[in-house]
């Protein structure tokens, strides 16, 4: 007899909820606190050139459509940036309302306006007449999506090549779902696709020079925004065990249909996260939301120098993540191939931010060991080494990133442009948006020559 297998839908929503949005009345209360400065400093802080001073004034004067328009025109991913931007270091950093009591919650207002625009079904973007010119975009992270949208607005035929099943790149596979969920991401990507951008997902370039060769095909220009997909691992004893993951492996599984599987694995288990950045904190919080027992976040930096965004650090601490700063893991202990613990000792960095071995001094008698069942590395990532083969004529710098002209983002090969983390190294989504805009502008200039 044939047994019916019940298809279990991923239960992501049970574990993760993104922050509640403002209601219209709450947004108005917040906008009412804005000083509406002359020459507002918030409007000078956005890499994507979104002007909060302008959209908040429009909200105050009940021109909500206009507010939505000025966000979306400048940043097609304005909703996502509202959710994930470290606004305290950008637009909100110089907000003068802090001189009265506290800064305006700009990120949350921006997100509100974008969702408001979606709710009323308002399309603020005009698309120019078809130019019949093909452009290829490699990778669908924030840089690629933005570049594609900007070109499509101007009437170019854009095709995005994405190696994964779904679009979004780091937005889908590098941001935990309690910050940005699939529904929100899909909705904003829809805005890009509605401009007529074509996509080829599950598309992998394999042959030598195959990206470059697109220029020999019908494509007149290429924008490379493949991101950093090669997450680092420390080479220490035990780090090749199957219970040792990179943050990318982990978030990939969380953001895929495998969330239940990993949730079952991690429940009531102890996890060590290696790293002290925002990603490490996000991963740690994610583990806690999946009901892990003890979660340690072990980093070389001191507590004061943790590179993590304050909000991300506080979120981890709020979820009872144990922060272990100024500490170095020397060994991952295993038994029968399974991770059973981590061993290390406390250290002092002689010079801030320098992680070369000669700069790390062990502190005597500070050895520690934790019983853990999983280890996750969140110590950054680099360019996929295969990319060089796919772009044999393109010059890379000594850190392995693509070399470009800073202003035009043009690579050493005419017609090939690059942006996002594959050029800058680890950075913010909104900086990738800036690159996408810049790349599109340069490609248009190049094509009009």
């Amino acid at each position: 007899m044939k047994q019916e297998v019940e298809k279990v839908e991923p239960k992501k929503d049970e574990y993760f909820q993104i922050e509640k949005p403002y209601t219209l009345s709450q947004a108005i209360v917040e906008a009412d606190r804005c000083l509406l400065c002359y020459d507002p400093l918030c409007s000078q802080g956005c890499p994507a050139e979104v002007e909060p001073g302008r959209f908040i004034k429009k909200l105050r004067l009940r021109n909500l459509k206009g507010a939505f328009k000025v966000i979306k025109e400048k940043n097609i991913l304005g909703g996502i940036c509202g959710l994930v931007c470290p606004v305290d270091k950008l637009c909100e950093e110089k907000c003068l309302a802090s001189g009265i009591d506290r800064v305006i919650n700009i990120g949350k207002l921006q997100r509100f306006l974008v969702e408001y625009g979606w709710d009323i079904g308002f399309n603020p973007i005009n698309k120019e007449k078809d130019k019949n010119v093909d452009v290829a975009v490699i990778g669908s992270g924030p840089a690629g999506l933005t570049c594609a949208a900007e070109l499509a607005k101007k009437g170019y035929n854009v095709t995005i090549f994405e190696k994964n099943e779904k679009l979004g790149g780091i937005l889908r596979y590098g941001i935990p779902p309690f910050k940005l969920n699939d529904d929100f991401l899909d909705r904003e990507i829809e805005d890009v696709l509605n401009l007529g951008v074509k996509v080829k997902t599950n598309y992998e370039f394999k042959d030598k020079g195959s990206i470059e060769n697109l220029l020999k095909d019908s494509f007149k220009a290429i924008f490379v925004s493949a991101g950093l997909t090669n997450a680092y691992r420390l080479k220490i004893p035990g780090s090749d065990s199957k219970d040792v993951l990179t943050y990318q492996d982990f978030l990939w599984q969380i953001n895929s249909d495998k969330v239940d599987e990993i949730a079952n694995k991690i429940k009531n288990k102890n996890v060590a996260i290696i790293g002290g950045g925002s990603v490490a904190m996000d991963v740690a919080t994610t583990c806690k939301l999946l009901n892990a027992n003890n979660v340690y976040c072990i980093s070389l930096e001191s507590m004061e120098d943790l590179p993590a965004d304050k909000a991300d650090l506080h979120k981890a601490i709020d979820h009872y993540v144990i922060i272990k700063p100024q500490s170095q893991i020397k060994e991952i202990t295993t038994k029968d191939g399974k991770v059973i613990g981590v061993k290390g000792n406390e250290v002092k960095l002689l010079k801030k931010g320098d992680f070369s071995p000669s700069n790390i001094k062990d502190i005597p008698n500070s050895e520690f060991s934790f019983n853990v069942d999983f280890v996750i590395f969140a110590i950054g990532s680099g360019v996929d080494p295969k990319i060089k083969e796919l772009l044999p004529s393109v010059a890379f710098d000594d850190k392995g990133y693509i070399k470009v002209d800073k202003e035009s983002l043009e690579t050493s090969v005419k017609g090939i442009f690059a942006g996002g983390e594959i050029v800058s190294g680890p950075s913010l989504a909104v900086n990738a948006v800036r690159d996408g805009k810049r790349g599109a502008k340069s490609i248009i200039n190049y094509l009009n020559k």
Binding site: D32, C37, Y38, D39, G99
Partner: protein, 413 residues
């Protein structure tokens, strides 16, 4: 705690705070709770004679909001009553029995002389301490009722006269602000024997028109009407009326102030302007009866701070400072003063001065600070109204001895 009692027309109120005749004084049960919470008295909504139809437009009110502030004003299209006269009479009797120290003024409205007489008598018999004649409801459609009486001054006199002839208790005439000069109907009331004036009823207005379906608010199944508007939005108008009435020497009657009173500060302003009693509704809609304790405490602390021993001593205290604009001393000039050490650099003073003022503030974009020019400043002070720094304000007015009035140069066209 200071003694806040005040005696008006021989009736002693434990404090000057009254419920006005409206939804908040609709039943004895509500009024009793208000007295328990600290209100001194009530103008009981006794509207509607024996023949009055019981009607209730639905929905009957609309909130006027400003930015994130809700209920800056309240619009209502209530007419007459939603209760029969017998119930109101029972309620007044019950209140007088259970709350003998809280005066009950009953607000009545008749449609003809006979009805005015009848209503006045039944409520006097029920034990009312005072009557309040409603000459001011701004949305009555029947000629010779509500505001239409208040605007036909002779009728004010006639109806006051018939009531005065038939009762012994004091009678207040409640007037509308929807006239050119409120002292005119007040004089008609006085000449007919009125003992006091209540000012003002709701102001005839329209708070909102729905921009999607073009129907004024509140929307009574596709229909709206110009009707009564109350709350903080009308306070400046109500206060003006009290000052005009108080300054009218020939009138010389005690006043009950009504319109937009929320806090003890508002109440004190009405007392200073010449009112002996204050009445409220919209603030109770907004905060409930619990606002009474803060009115009472606030007024008491104020009297302690200012050395007043009796509420009577506050009444009319500001009147000598009201002049005609022609009486100002125009030889004295000044300018806005900026405490720039506390400036946070938002620049809204610059925008206001350039776009709506005397163009006497320049902007230092490097330092993000205003550069005021005292000589050109004509003291409109709008810069201080938009400046977010308060307590104490960053921008203040100061007299400058010998300063000449600045005349801007001819426009460069």
């Amino acid at each position: 705690m200071k003694d806040l009692s005040i005696t008006v027309c021989g009736v002693k109120f434990p404090n000057p705070f009254l419920l006005s005749s409206s939804v908040v004084s609709n039943t004895a049960e509500m009024v009793a709770r208000a007295f328990d919470a600290g209100f001194g008295g009530v103008s009981f909504k006794g509207i509607g004679g024996p023949s009055a139809e019981i009607i209730n437009p639905a929905p009957r009110m609309h909130s006027y909001n400003l930015g994130s502030k809700k209920l800056v004003g309240l619009q209502n299209v209530e007419q007459t009553t939603d209760r029969p006269l017998e119930d109101n009479i029972q309620d007044v009797k019950w209140l007088k029995k259970h709350y003998p120290n809280n005066p009950v003024m009953v607000n009545i409205m008749g449609f003809n002389k006979e009805e005015w007489k009848y209503l006045a008598q039944v409520f006097e018999d029920a034990g009312a301490d005072m009557l309040e004649l409603n000459f001011s409801c701004p949305h009555m459609s029947v000629e010779g009722s509500g505001m239409k009486v208040g605007q036909a001054f002779k009728l004010v006199g006639d109806f006051t006269d018939i009531v005065k002839r038939n009762v012994k208790i004091p009678v207040f005439a409640k007037l509308t602000s929807n006239v050119t000069d409120i002292t005119e109907p007040a004089m008609y009331a006085k000449e007919a024997g009125a003992d006091g004036i209540t000012a003002v009823n709701t102001v005839r207005a329209i708070t909102n028109i729905d921009i999607n379906n073009f129907v004024p608010c509140p929307n009574i199944f596709g229909k709206g009407a110009l009707s009564g508007y109350s709350g903080p939005g009308i306070k400046p108008i109500a206060l003006k009326c009290i000052v005009e009435l108080a300054k009218k020497e020939e009138l010389g009657l005690p006043l009950a102030g009504c319109g937009g009173i929320e806090t003890w500060v508002d109440a004190v302003e009405f007392l200073l302007g010449g009112a002996s009693l204050v009445q409220m509704t919209t603030s109770i809609v907004k905060y409930g009866h619990r606002l009474a304790e803060d009115l009472v405490e606030g007024l008491s602390f104020y009297m302690e701070d200012k050395g007043f021993n009796k509420v009577e001593d506050i009444v009319g205290k500001a009147l000598p400072n009201f002049y005609e604009t022609k009486d100002f001393d125009l030889s004295r000039q000044g300018a806005a003063q900026f405490d720039l050490d506390r400036c946070i650099g938002c620049g809204v003073c610059y925008i206001a001065c350039q776009d709506a003022g005397g163009q006497c503030i320049e902007w230092d974009s490097k330092k993000r600070r205003p550069i005021p020019d005292e000589e050109k400043c004509y003291s409109c002070m709008i810069c201080s109204f938009v400046c977010p720094i308060d307590n104490p304000p960053l921008i203040t007015f100061k007299e400058i001895k010998g300063k000449k009035i600045y005349t801007p140069p001819p426009s460069k066209l």
